[in-house]
């Protein structure tokens, strides 16, 4: 390891200005300063100040009694021009008091001639330089903070424990219309209305009690003008021992920000409202659209029905006349003596059956095209069902179909057109019978129920000739068969005119169309669905009350 050379570790020589009019003292001091100092020696204040202006020095050793200046004035004059230089004052034994006063005025230290040695001198010089340097740093730091506090666009103050201002920046003072001197030592009560001052002091007490930062936005309404908003941050002031000794506050105008926030909030709420309105409108639009679509479909269907109805009536009239002729002809032959003999008898019977079937089709067409009108009278639905079952009793024999009735015996009288409702029941019963060519069980049930909101809604695709309301008491008639059921792809079409799942010659395709028409004339609904196990269920729902 190589030790650094002497020249490398040696600190740079101190540049010393020695202001001493006594050549002996100057010589002595120069010798005490030694080789580590570069000494410039002058004998008058004027020389000293002049040389300081031309050269850089680290320290000044200043004798207070010079030919051109005496006592403290010497120091004052020097400092006026070179305040940044550390000064060690040198005095004789007889004027130590003056030297001490010089220290008070800004000299770093004083040394008494004749009482100093090399060590003392060098130590005093080092301390003086360090003190001056620390003093300079402190001054710069203070200037820095002063500049910060005074130039920030905020209002800043400090108060003691009693709420007296101990500091206020220029901006704060300007706002109060006072000088710093007029502010310091006073309280909020001296500058603000009592309520406001009391509020400020309460905030201060809160900060002092909690020992924590307090932040708020205060609202002020000047006597003239609009509301103003101020953001306030108050914190406790701690001393070096960590004890709270007061409060400090900083506040600034946030009116523009608050107004902006208010506008933003309003815009946001307007936007939210607009969005809600828009969503509502959208929902309304969608609903209207679906209603229009539904209405359109119904209009198309009604138009179709109307056309079919007109056509049906025309066909019925045209066909009934030739049928009437055939009927008379068949009756003529059936009254002849040969009618008893075979095969004439069978032929006549077949012709009569065919006539009857053709007439049924025509009757169905006429029913379908008839104007919708019902004559409503109170009736017992169970009785109408029994009567209808009686009408189809022949059909129940072959194949064998057993009938089970589950009638609610306390049904209220219902307003119906009895003949038309019987026609509905006979139609539905006949369909059920036809669905069980191998025999089976036909269950007919009646009951009353209160519609849930879900049940009151029209089923998808159902015609909306009227609507039930939730909670409405309705009378339900169900017809369950154990037959083949309806192919799922045909379920949606069973009410269409001329649509039939039966084999040719077995159905007119008008039965369920007419049935639905009659049920709808009663403001009721009819539904056909397959049962989970087997067979189908027809459900007829009728009103018990009418407005």
């Amino acid at each position: 390891m190589t030790r650094p050379s002497q020249s490398q570790v040696q600190p740079p020589a101190r540049r010393v200005l020695l202001t001493e009019d006594s050549p002996a003292d100057a010589l002595l001091l120069q010798s005490l300063l030694g080789a580590e100092c570069v000494v410039t020696c002058v004998s008058t204040l004027a020389e000293g100040m002049a040389v300081c202006s031309q050269e850089q020095f680290d320290i000044v050793l200043l004798d207070l009694f010079l030919p051109d200046s005496r006592g403290l004035d010497t120091l004052m004059q020097f400092q006026t021009l070179h305040s940044d230089l550390p000064i060690l004052v040198m005095s004789g034994l007889d004027d130590e008091q003056t030297a001490a006063a010089a220290v008070h005025e800004g000299a770093q230290d004083y040394l008494v001639k004749g009482q100093m040695d090399e060590v003392l001198l060098h130590r005093a010089m080092r301390y003086a330089i360090e003190r001056k340097s620390a003093e300079r740093a402190l001054r710069e730091s203070e200037a820095f903070y002063q500049s910060l506090v005074e130039n920030l666009p905020q209002y800043i103050y400090r108060k003691d424990m009693a709420g007296r201002f101990t500091f206020a920046n220029r901006r704060f003072c300007t706002q109060l219309g006072k000088t710093p001197a007029e502010v310091v030592g006073h309280t909020d009560l001296d500058f603000f209305p009592p309520e406001l001052a009391e509020k400020y002091q309460a905030d201060d007490r809160r900060v002092l009690a909690a020992g924590k930062l307090f932040e708020t936005v205060e609202e002020h309404t000047p006597t003239t003008g609009e509301k103003e908003y101020v953001q306030v941050v108050k914190t406790p002031v701690f001393n070096a021992q960590g004890r709270i000794v007061g409060t400090q506050g900083i506040f600034w105008d946030v009116t523009a920000r608050v107004r902006g926030e208010e506008r933003l909030k309003k815009a946001h709420s307007d936007l939210a409202r607009s969005r809600e309105d828009l969503l509502r409108t959208l929902v309304d639009l969608q609903r209207s659209h679906s209603q229009i679509k539904e209405a359109q479909l119904q209009v198309i269907e009604m138009e179709k029905m109307h056309t079919i109805g007109q056509m049906a009536a025309g066909i019925a009239h045209e066909v009934k006349n030739p049928l009437a002729v055939i009927r008379m002809g068949v009756d003529f032959f059936s009254n002849s003596p040969e009618s008893e003999a075979e095969p004439t008898s069978t032929i006549i019977k077949d012709m009569q059956d065919a006539l009857h079937r053709a007439d049924s089709i025509i009757m169905g067409l006429l029913d379908f095209s008839a104007p919708g009108k019902v004559e409503l009278r109170p009736a017992d639905l169970n009785m109408l069902l029994r009567s209808s079952l009686n009408l189809v009793r022949h059909e129940l024999k072959t194949p064998h179909i057993s009938v089970q009735t589950e009638f609610c015996e306390h049904l209220p009288a219902v307003l119906v057109d009895a003949n038309k409702i019987k026609q509905v029941f006979v139609n539905v019963l006949t369909n059920a019978v036809h669905a069980m060519p191998e025999g089976g069980t036909l269950t007919v049930r009646t009951y009353i129920k209160k519609l849930t909101p879900e049940e009151a809604k029209p089923s998808p695709g159902a015609r909306r000739t009227h609507e039930f309301r939730a909670g409405e008491r309705v009378l339900v008639t169900e017809f369950d068969d154990t037959g083949t059921g309806i192919p799922e792809d045909k379920l949606g079409r069973v009410f269409e005119p001329f649509f039939t799942t039966k084999e040719t010659g077995k159905g007119t395709g008008l039965g369920l169309t007419v049935t639905r028409k009659i049920v709808e004339l009663h403001e009721g609904t009819i539904q056909l669905q397959n049962q989970p196990e087997r067979g189908a269920r027809a459900t007829i729902t009728l009103r018990t009350e009418r407005s």
Partner: protein, 139 residues
């Protein structure tokens, strides 16, 4: 036996012919056909029927209009009228309906039913009863 005189007014000639043959076969009626509605009153004046079977929809004059004229005619006003119609749409029509004091029978009407209805109406007329009170024919 006193044969009743029946006038059938219908534009369907085959139908009136068939009705005539059937009714005349019973030997209880003398039947006259009229297929031209506008000539019906003249024919009725000439034939002097005991009962008129009348179609509803006919070219020229419809059955309703003709029934009104018959009712207004001093010579014919007492003659009962039975409507035979292809336009009865009500299911009840299968059992016969009275509308406006007239009996309506739906086509195709059976001979037995037709004769029963005619006899009931003629009997009611004989007893000068209101046709509306006449027993309804069996279906």
């Amino acid at each position: 036996m006193d044969q009743k005189r029946i006038l059938i007014i219908d534009d369907e000639a085959t139908f009136t012919r068939m009705v005539r043959i059937n009714l005349e076969q019973t030997k209880r009626y003398v039947v006259r056909e009229e297929n031209r509605a506008p000539h019906a009153l003249t024919t009725a004046h000439e034939f002097k029927p005991d009962l008129i079977l009348l179609d509803v929809i006919m070219p020229g004059v419809d059955g309703g209009e003709l029934a009104s004229r018959i009712k207004a005619d001093s010579l014919l006003k007492e003659v009962p009228v039975i409507f035979l119609t292809a336009t009865v749409s009500k299911r009840e029509a299968a059992e016969g309906v009275f509308t406006g004091g007239y009996l309506f029978l739906p086509k195709p009407v059976g001979l037995k039913n037709l004769v029963e209805c005619m006899e009931n109406v003629l009997a009611a007329k004989k007893h000068e009863h209101d046709p509306a009170e006449v027993k309804k024919p069996a279906s």
